[in-house]
């Protein structure tokens, strides 16, 4: 079973590379059961969006 620590690593890496279907499966399984990581996933997407918006907000 994937733990939260490794799951967050995978979530982060999925922004950097194409993750394998095995990894994706493990990630989805974990996310189904873990609210903390679900929140983390959404926040990760928000952080990327915000950082990319920053040049327009200077």
């Amino acid at each position: 079973m994937l733990d939260c620590k490794h799951n967050t690593e995978l979530l982060s890496q999925s922004l950097e590379r194409r993750i394998t279907w095995r990894e994706r499966l493990a990630m989805r399984m974990h996310l189904m059961m873990c609210r903390g990581c679900r929140n983390f996933e959404k926040q990760l997407a928000f952080i990327r969006k915000a950082a990319r918006e920053l040049p327009r907000k200077l």
Binding site: C4, K5, C37, Q43, R52
Partner: protein, 187 residues
Amino acid sequence: MSAIDPEDLQQHRSYLVRYAILQLRDPHLAEDAVQETLVAAIEGRDKFSAQSSLRTWLVGILKHKILDMLRRRAREPQLNVAEGEDENELVDALFKENGRWAAPPQTWNEPEQSMENTHFWEVFEQCNQRMPLNTARAFMMREFMEMSTEEICQELSISTTNCWVLLHRARLALRECLDINWFGNVR
């Protein structure tokens, strides 16, 4: 076409300085980078086509100047030694020994609306400043300058895996900082 007036350039100056500070984290270096950018812009004004906005064009030049500056600094050994960043501390604090969250992330209230708030951007910048140097640098290259992971690895002379680790730590740190300082999730 050389329709660039030096006065137009000056108008963009303060924006460029703020942009450079975010990436270089040093006002003097940022000033230098912007100065070089403006000189390059004047010298290369024939290459500017009115199709793109002047600011976009200037930022394009500035990005190169910033990278040049980082490269020059990387060659000064004493600066690298000063980088005793032990960032595992953060990761260790966030997760328990069994790999579970020490404090699972709570929902963020209306994050999209935050982006309309100028104070949010101040907090966001402060959170960036608080990150350890290399971590912040990698993160800003990736998200702010929108470079690819490969380009960043090359710039920082680190492996792809290291690059992912840095980016991940940056995201964890930024999340934590925004969580506490903006979304007000007290732990």
